[in-house]
């Protein structure tokens, strides 16, 4: 009898506590959840709707297309009307992505290994690799722009190189601007990757490394056969996450040139979307087109993620 009574009391106590826990749990997450529903779910849903709409200046609002529902999607393939070349946009973005993955990832892994093995001045290098993430990008780009135009291009002119405009190497209509900016962008962005990889490498068991050293492995083999397999999930995550960058990476072009009218030849998709989405009635006409373009890019990016994930899985097998 007493046992039964005590059991009931404990049950009531634990159910009250569970109820209190539940209330507290939902009190903690309710507001962030509302924020998520508005700024993620609704924003993206609205983006889909926007891609089937047009701006109506008389009512200063967006109305659904009635005559040709897919007009905005057709518009994506007719960017020439905006003075842009879709092929060039895609090509520039793909070149940027491939270079970022190929020339960014491999050196980043090697540099991370250098830091992980605590070689000469590793602390010093770690600081400088992290520095571009701290310094405002507008400072870096302005100084680099001034240095390239006023110093490097001027010196090249003195040595006999002729430039079409005073922008020298960074003239957006020249053949030099894109490669120069591409190299610069890769140069300043792989520092963050180094920090992530060296972080992942730190999880490698020291006994594994010691054992391989005792077995006579050189540093190269330790990297390839001991450390690299351990950080492969991080590398995979980075490569998969970089796919979104294919369509969002601006390569700092907005910092260098402002709006896309100033640099249509070297534009990437990310630069194009950001530049055309400036708020204000004069740009509202572009919003449905940008939404349609973004939706198509998202579909491609999601498909690409599935394909790359499958390729990785096949390699893992």
């Amino acid at each position: 009898m007493t046992k039964a009574l005590l059991g009931n009391r404990n049950k009531t106590k634990s159910s009250t506590s569970s109820k209190k826990d539940k209330i507290f749990f939902y009190a903690l997450i309710i507001l962030p959840l509302v924020q998520f529903l508005i700024f993620y779910v609704y924003v993206n849903f609205n983006s889909i709707l926007l891609s089937f709409q047009k701006y109506d200046s008389s009512s200063a609002g967006f109305i659904f297309l009635t005559d040709n529902v897919f007009k905005n999607y057709q518009g994506v393939f007719e960017l020439g009307n905006l003075g842009l070349d879709l092929g060039k946009l895609i090509l520039n973005s793909v070149i940027l992505w491939v270079c970022m993955v190929a020339f960014g990832t491999i050196p980043a892994i090697i540099f991370s290994f250098y830091i992980y093995r605590k070689r000469t001045l590793y602390h010093f290098f770690k600081f400088f690799l992290f520095l571009p993430s701290i310094i405002p990008s507008i400072l870096l780009t302005t100084v680099f722009k001034g240095f390239m135009i006023d110093c490097v291009s001027n010196i090249m002119s003195m040595l006999g190189t002729t430039f079409k405009t005073s922008n020298g190497l960074l003239d957006p209509y020249s053949d030099t601007a894109f490669p120069v900016l591409l190299i610069y962008y890769i140069w300043i962005s792989f520092g963050a990757q180094v920090l992530f990889y060296s972080n992942a490498m730190a999880q490698t068991s020291p006994s594994l490394v010691e054992a391989s050293q005792l077995d006579g492995c050189g540093e190269g083999r330790i990297l390839l056969h001991v450390v690299l397999p351990g950080i492969m999930p991080t590398v995979k995550t980075f490569i998969i996450a970089s796919i979104a960058g294919l369509f969002t990476n601006q390569m700092l072009l907005f910092n260098f040139y402002g709006t896309i009218d100033n640099a249509p030849n070297i534009a990437t998709i990310g630069y194009f979307i950001y530049s055309m989405a400036a708020p204000g009635p004069s740009n509202y006409d572009n919003y449905p087109l940008m939404s349609a373009f973004g939706l198509l890019c998202s579909i491609i990016a999601i498909s690409a993620i599935f394909v790359i994930n499958k390729i990785f899985k096949r390699f893992e097998k």
Binding site: S17, D21, F24, F25, Y26, L28, I29, L31, P32, F36, Y40, Y42, V43, S47, L50, I110, F111, Y114, R117, F125, F127, F128, F130, P132, I134, I135, P136, I138, L139, L140, T142, V143, F144, G146, F147, D150, C151, N154, I155, W187, I188, L195, E219, G220, I240, A241, I243, A244, F247, N255, A277, P279, Y287, M290, S291, F293, G294, C297, S298, I302
Partner: protein
């Protein structure tokens, strides 16, 4: 008397791989620093001397002045959208502090709180929250900026300095996963013991569990603050009436001839970049050790 014995460093063979990496890293540092040092020099050169320098860029100017910084400080003014009067540097810095401070607070506390709820309570919905973070991080959404701007305009966070932080109060960031792993790592015995002692859920969270994440909270806040301070693209679109230092500097860079040319423009950028660089250098060790030796950790 005890004498301190220095540990003997093991002799390490010179490895060609490391020599090559060392050389590349030295080149990396030089390439990174040369334009910055050049910029620093140029920021002390007056306009006439700079024009002369452009004719012979191989020789650095010999006369330097502090005028670019003084003029840059005075010229650090911008007319916000729809306003007839200029805002001076103090107003712009104040707006930047409000923008960066509120957004960093929101972007730090919200993932932390949600991670706490998801990790410390055994409810199914907690797992759903965790799943939402993973799925949204894996699925890339492109081109929703126009829609986001429209929604912000409808809700009232657009061009609203004091409410803009709401847009940044989301838990869909990598910091959620970071806090989640910290809270998951704290034994449940702490919570149970506190409950036996009569503590309620709020006290348990604040007094028993949060101290485990305090250091990380500080670092995440600092990283967010640096990011928001340096950012100009979001406030450029979303806060047209409240220019922050980033947007002001971006505008100056588009019309630098009006602002005493390149030397003064660089001086103006250094003026607003120095506080954040000093802050980052002051916390350099903490940022480095927390970020790179095994992730952000206690």
């Amino acid at each position: 008397m005890m004498t301190k014995i220095k540990p003997i460093k093991p002799h390490r063979k010179t490895n060609p791989l490391y020599v090559a990496v060392f050389i590349i890293l030295v080149v990396y540092v030089v390439v990174l620093l040369v334009p910055l040092i050049w910029g620093l020099f140029i920021s002390f050169v007056d306009r006439d001397a700079y024009s002369e320098y452009l004719h012979n860029p191989l020789v650095l100017p010999t006369s330097y002045t502090f005028d670019n910084y003084i003029n840059g400080f005075n010229d650090f003014q911008i007319k916000p959208l729809g306003s007839y009067t200029n805002q001076n540097i103090f107003e712009i810095v104040f707006q930047t502090l409000v923008y960066s401070g509120l957004c960093s607070l929101a972007a730090t506390i919200v993932p932390c709180i949600c991670a706490y709820a998801s990790a410390r309570f055994n409810f199914k919905f907690g797992k759903v929250v965790y799943g939402i973070v993973i799925v949204t991080m894996a699925i890339p959404i492109v081109g929703n900026l126009p829609s986001e701007i429209r929604v912000a305009q409808a809700i009232g966070t657009f061009d609203n300095l004091w409410l803009f932080w709401i847009m940044k109060a989301n838990f869909l960031t990598i910091y959620f996963l970071l806090f989640h792993s910290i809270f998951k790592g704290v034994p449940m015995a702490y919570t149970e013991a506190a409950k036996i002692d009569g503590a309620n859920n709020f006290r348990i969270m604040i007094h028993c569990i949060m101290p485990f994440a305090l250091g990380t909270l500080g670092i995440v806040f600092l990283l967010n603050f640096i990011n928001f301070w340096n950012d100009y693209q979001i406030p450029y679109y979303y806060l047209p009436s409240y220019p922050v230092v980033g947007t002001a500097v971006f505008n100056f860079s588009l019309h630098y001839e009006r602002y005493g040319g390149i030397p003064q423009l660089i001086a103006m950028i250094f003026i607003v970049a120095i506080p954040i660089i000093v802050l980052a250098i002051a916390f350099n060790k903490k940022l480095m050790s927390n970020l790179s030796d095994g992730g952000i950790k206690e």
